[in-house]
Every structure is written in C-alpha cells, then in structure tokens.
C-alpha cells in the first residue's frame, strides 16, 4: 500500500545520494539507519529491486539514525558522508549493510575495518569527520524525514508517497507503478 497521507517533504535534488537515471519512472527514497537490523534486512531487497527495474528506477538514500537505540548509527552515517567526499558514498553504504552483523557489535573499531576495506585514507577520513557540515547534513536528512512522516527505519517513499506494507511486497508495489506509467 502506498499512502497518500505521508508525503516526502524535501524533494529529491542534486544534494542527495542518487543511483540510477534522472529520467526514471520511479524514484525510491529510503530513510535508513546503518545500524538498524531491519534496514540491514531490507538492503538485499533494495538491491533486487534496483536490479529488476534498472533503467526505470532511481534510488535515493537519506540518513535517519536512531542514535539512542543504535549507538553507532550516527558515526556510521558520518563515515558514509566522509567517504562521499571521495566519491565513495555507495561503496561505504553497501559495506555497512553487507557487514552490519560483523561491525555493529564492535562499534567504532568495527567501523574502522570498513575504512581499511575500502582503502580510504584514514587520516583524511578522520579530518573530514570533524567537519560540522557532515553533522548538519545528517540532521537535515533526519528532520526532513520527520516532516515527511518517517516513523521508523527503514521508511520508503515511492514517487514521494510513504510506502506502508511489508518490505517483501515493495517490489510489487513498484512494479505496479511502472506498469501504470508505461
């Protein structure tokens, strides 16, 4: 079910992290938390959806770290943004979800593994993490999500409307939108 009540309050723009063609029929926006197990569970489903509807789908990831529930979610989000400075946002995004079960229990030490795995310059990353713009960006994503009606993680928006249903059915909901518009 795609809800007509909760609408994306912040339109997708060039400041977003975007995969896929700008002319895609469907824009899928995820508000996610890198330490959230449910987001980790949804990650392979999103990959499947991207693969299945390649060419028709644009995927956008926005930060929604629930820091009190997940103590390293904020640091993981900052790390992804620091990697983004090197053009490696998606590489870090994928690493964080694919290795969530391994790094999450080890906290900051676990996250350092990711920096090394991606071959990023550790000193440069450490310096970037001190940049207040990174915090501001993550907070901006978060509050945009709150205003859009995000109520937990992950939350998905299909062409601007909140998707409310189980994640296994998301692929079908997107398939129907594409079918209608072709």
């Amino acid at each position: 079910m795609i809800s007509e009540e909760a609408v994306l309050a912040v339109p997708v723009s060039a400041r977003d992290h975007i995969q896929g063609t700008p002319h895609a029929v469907v824009t899928l926006v995820e508000y996610g938390d890198f330490q959230c197990p449910a987001c980790g569970g949804a990650y392979p489903l999103v990959k499947q959806i991207q693969h299945r509807y390649a060419g028709n789908l644009r995927f956008v990831f926005r930060h929604f770290p629930l820091s009190q529930a997940h103590p390293y979610a904020q640091l993981a989000a900052e790390l992804a943004e620091a990697a983004a400075v090197d053009g490696r946002f998606w590489a870090m995004h994928d690493w964080l979800y694919e290795n969530q079960a391994a790094w999450a229990p080890r906290g900051a030490a676990g996250l350092e593994t990711g920096v090394r795995a991606l071959g990023l310059d550790e000193a440069a990353i450490a310096a970037t993490l001190r940049n207040p713009d990174i915090d501001a960006r993550i907070r901006g994503d978060f509050m945009g999500g709150v205003r859009s009606g995000v109520n937990g993680t992950p939350s998905f928006y299909v062409n601007g409307y909140l998707y409310q249903g189980d994640f296994d059915s998301l692929v079908h909901a997107i398939g129907r939108v594409i079918a209608r518009q072709q």
């Binding site: 909760a6 987001c39 009190q68 529930a69 709150v146 109520n151 937990g152």
Partner: protein, 172 residues
C-alpha cells in the same frame, strides 16, 4: 466519550513516573507539553514511536515543549523500558485506577484495557491545541507534532524574535 479536541482545557493529572516520583501536568504551566498515550511498553524497537521521539527531544525543547508519554503499564516496567531504550523523558504510569487519565482524555480502549495511540499538544495555559488519534497498530511519527508546535502562537513570537534581520534591513 470521544477524544478531547483542540480548544478544550487539558484535564489535570498526577501520575507516577518512577516508584517514588510523580509528575503533575500543572508543573508545566508556561511551557508546552506533548502528551503521547501509547498502548504498551516493549513494542519492537526499529518501528518504535517512542524511540523516534527520543531523538527529537532537542527539537521539542526549541519549541519550549516537554514530552510526557503515558501507558497503563506499571512503574517497574516503565523503569526497565526507559533504561533499556535509553529514553530521556518521563514515562507515566496510568495504572491505578487503571486508565483513569486516558479515560479523561477520551482515549481509553475499554475492550483491550489499554490507552489508545493518541497525541495531544497542550499550550502553556493548559489548553489542548492539537490532538490526533492513530489507528492502534500505526506509528504516527512526529510530523503532526512538529507542525502543531510550529503553529502555537508562542512559537510564532519566538520565531519573530529569532529572525529580526528582515525588519532590521528594512529600517536601516
């Protein structure tokens, strides 16, 4: 009885927040209050309404607002939940007589013996300014609360004080 609507005086209450502490609504005169009635402690965490609000306490404070969450669970359950989930706001226990406060606000589910998932924004004079009843299984998020807080006259004044630049430029 149906849920109390905007414009109604918020019924007073005093409830236990811990085994030896109580919280009374009237303590918050002059500040805004967000009352969040919820059915039960210990719902799953990733989709947890209170976990979301816990991340927004600074945002609520900017609007001079205090969050109070209320369920019919007992104080020891509340204490364990707050510790486990690292909640930094009071969980009030509408336990004895059970659901009395939820009933006063018109949000008690008689059939299940639980508070409904209902939100109230109360202003500094103790008047309800916004209320919202969510279906039991649906987490309402915080968009409505933020919008309601922004619409409070006191916060409109605050915004004007925070952003005097436009006027200053006009008279310079």
């Amino acid at each position: 009885m149906s849920m109390l609507a905007a414009g109604t005086a918020a019924p007073e209450f005093t409830l236990h927040s811990t085994p030896d502490q109580t919280v009374a609504l009237k303590e918050f005169r002059g500040r805004n209050v967000i009352l969040a009635f919820y059915p039960a402690d210990w719902s799953p965490v990733c989709s947890d309404q209170l976990a979301l609000y816990n991340e927004l306490l600074d945002e609520f404070a900017r609007f001079n607002a205090q969050l109070l969450a209320i369920s019919v669970d007992g104080v020891w359950s509340h204490a364990a939940l707050a510790r486990e989930r690292k909640y930094h706001f009071p969980l009030l226990s509408d336990f004895e007589p059970k659901g009395r406060v939820a009933r006063a606000y018109g949000v008690y589910d008689e059939q299940h013996g639980l508070a409904q998932r209902a939100l109230f924004v109360i202003d500094g004079d103790g008047v309800i300014r916004w209320s919202y009843l969510s279906p039991m299984g649906v987490n309402p998020g915080a968009a409505g609360i933020v919008k309601a807080l922004e619409a409070l006259p006191s916060n409109n004044i605050q915004k004007a004080l925070d952003a005097p630049d436009a006027d200053a430029r006009g008279t310079a």
